[in-house]
Subunit: 377 residues, 2 copies
Amino acid sequence: MQQCGAFTLIKQSSQCGARLGKVYTTRGTIDTPVFMPVGTQGSVKSLSTEQLIELRAQIILANSYHIYLRPGLDIIKKSGGIQKFNSWNRPMLTDSGGFQIFSLNGFRKIKEEGVEFKSHIDGSKHFISPEISMQIQKAIGADIIMCFDECTPYPATYEYAKNSMQLSLKWAKRCKDEFYKDDAKNTQALFGIIQGSVFEDLRKESALKMQNIDFAGYAIGGVSVGETKEEMLKVIDFTIQYLPKNKARYLMGVGMPEDIWEAIERGIDMFDCVIPTRNGRNGQAFTTYGKVNIKNGEYKDKFEPLDPECNCQTCRGYTKAYLNHLFKSQEILAHTLLSLHNIHFMLKLTKIVQEAIQTDTFFKVKQEFFNKYYSKK
Amino acid sequence: MQQCGAFTLIKQSSQCGARLGKVYTTRGTIDTPVFMPVGTQGSVKSLSTEQLIELRAQIILANSYHIYLRPGLDIIKKSGGIQKFNSWNRPMLTDSGGFQIFSLNGFRKIKEEGVEFKSHIDGSKHFISPEISMQIQKAIGADIIMCFDECTPYPATYEYAKNSMQLSLKWAKRCKDEFYKDDAKNTQALFGIIQGSVFEDLRKESALKMQNIDFAGYAIGGVSVGETKEEMLKVIDFTIQYLPKNKARYLMGVGMPEDIWEAIERGIDMFDCVIPTRNGRNGQAFTTYGKVNIKNGEYKDKFEPLDPECNCQTCRGYTKAYLNHLFKSQEILAHTLLSLHNIHFMLKLTKIVQEAIQTDTFFKVKQEFFNKYYSKK
């Protein structure tokens, strides 16, 4: 039996860095490249477990920060872990809570020991250190858990980025020590997170030193924080050459369909992003022929599916005109139907890429995808 | 082939007025007694068509007033009717719009010709007469449509109630004339509505004179408007003795589980009510062992289904603790899951009653139901 978090490389594209693989977890195996829908508070917003299963989502993500504050670890422990609690009996990943805490500008204080912060819910004071983050994530019980790091803000001076990256390295070591204190490694995997902002030497140093500590997989963090798309791609390029081939690579918080293609081309295996659900709730759908804002008046009498090439429940069952009506009438079903479609779109996108890697036609399929995606039908 | 709206009596209880029947419509046959979930704006709030099909809902209701104002008849006509528009390709019923218009206190003016009112959406002025209501409901295209009447407010003086009932009679005649102007009768059925407030002689007069006009089915209106439960049951008793056995009887806007039992006992076949969805969105669930307000703190660590004797998707998949978390975290999935459970509860309730009528054990089964329903488990 493989260790939780272990990566198997199935096929390497001959054309680029893209690769087909599998990530083993205690609750099931994930086919990569994979898109992970985000269940911020333990639940992918507006979707039921049944709908996620029908969508064939293989793994979902939850935010430790949110779960820790509400319902709290006591409830999660009593229920027997997050997957018992939310009845998603399949692979899950939790982030460390760091990203949310560092977003609480003015409500948090960073020290080497850890971070003090105030809850966004009730203003209560809390302290999280690398050790406490591990304890929290062990209690939550997801299959893959993440090191507690400082997500370096953008823009950052070289000096800030360097100090921040080195702090994250120290914290990573402490995370690993805490993680291996008991036998959690048998049912959970700990991934390290590479930082270093947009600076090549810092990304290299972080990538190499994280490997010295040795983790089950590696994430590229500190992206999708305001940098340009070009900078984000450079960060991947700077980093990925120093990452081992035999472990999973996870680009945190990304992204848009175009980002996913570019990142997979460079060798990324795992993605998560709130965009499919957040934009869905705002009326934006991703389709084969580009983005559609279903709230626009032009759709009020368009009796055709959102995406003519999609076979999700929303596209099989409903027209643009009806979805437009649901949004205008403030029916929450609109949020569900667009979130469902957008997640289906992202999952289908990764299936298309997997197939392209399998048949070694990455660039041809990519070109076909964008010919349609950028042509308004 | 039977006429749309035709009622077949399958079995009459030997114990009380309860009866088992079928209502034929162009889009399918409905087993009665039946509970009709309400899709105010064409959509049962927070539930998808797929979820309603899984719930085995046989017929849903929509409000003409809402559909008329938004998306408007032009869109509905272009789409090919409401069931093409909302992709609910099964029986539907529309009300006349009267109930909503008469609720717009201060925004409407009643004349014999019809009612002037202002839209609650944008304040625009509109006029609806019996003839216009028929035209609207024909354009919407539901299988069963309702006469335009004045829903007599409660309390009403005898004189007000009498004049109001007589106005509704005149309007009913005009509705029928308009309805039969073309061949809509082949695909739609028109039901009359009995008014008369809480006054026995007025209810009798209304019931008999409506039959002189002759409709496909008869509704008891002007209930669930603030009267006591005892008064409502008396209204049913006053009225139902004068209704024909060979036509469906529909109690409008009712109700709670206890009301449904009492009304079926007196011979009612059809019900609609927003309570399962509205209360669901507020956190109230109907269960075999009574009502549960899932937002209460006592449920935060109850790792058991809402209703131990329910096999709906919500009860199969989720615990009270998780539903409590979803409500506290303001996840709209909470609305969906409780609405789904509550509609399942009402549909299951009518199945239980159907079975009790079939086996002629109405009072035994009713007693068993309430022994549980009123015992907090």
